[in-house]
Amino acid sequence: MFRVTHQPIDLNEPVCYVTDPEAGAIATFIGTTRNNNEGRRVIALDYEAYPEMAEKELARIGVDAAKKWQICRMAIVHRLGAVQIGEASVVIAVSSAHREAAFAASRFAIEEIKKTVPIWKKEVYEGGEVWIGTQTGQEFKNK
């Protein structure tokens, strides 16, 4: 299960998906939206994706993880659109026979998501907004 969705993520769904009789462990990672960043008060977050490629890249992460570790199943669900503070923006679940592989693969997945998956986060804060990753100077602000 590798997908992006505009709906709030049901945390049970990826966990149920990776449940496997061969597994002795399920590791989960939940990324949540924070109310502050670099000293700014964040009042809203908005995620945008190139959805077809984002899902393809998420699936590629699953394939790469399965080459590196002995995992049973993996699920990654990433939220799009407006996400309220404290809600889950991404959920990763990995099952494996032994816990080390599940921990390692879930860590790998979140690091890869931040590098290669075409999803962008806009932070709206008091007095402005910014696309994260492009805010290395005043000139990058879009407004």
């Binding site: 945008e48 190139y50 077809e52 923006s89 879009n142």
Partner: protein, 81 residues
Amino acid sequence: MKIRVKLFAILRERAGTAEVIKDLVDGSTVADLWHGLQKDYPKLDVPGIRLLYAVNQNYVALDYQLSEGDEVVFIPPVSGG
């Protein structure tokens, strides 16, 4: 040849559109397309931005040669998670 360009995030906002169809001469590369787009939409030139390039949902290099009907996306720094 006709190339479909999809724009996202900061590039979509700067261009004021999410999709552009661009007519290019045969043999044009991703780099040629990007230069042409910047002429049409000068605000796409974000100083210092580091872009990645995708054709038909696969990452490619700037010198990748385009074909009729390709879908091209210029990918600003990603920030999912």
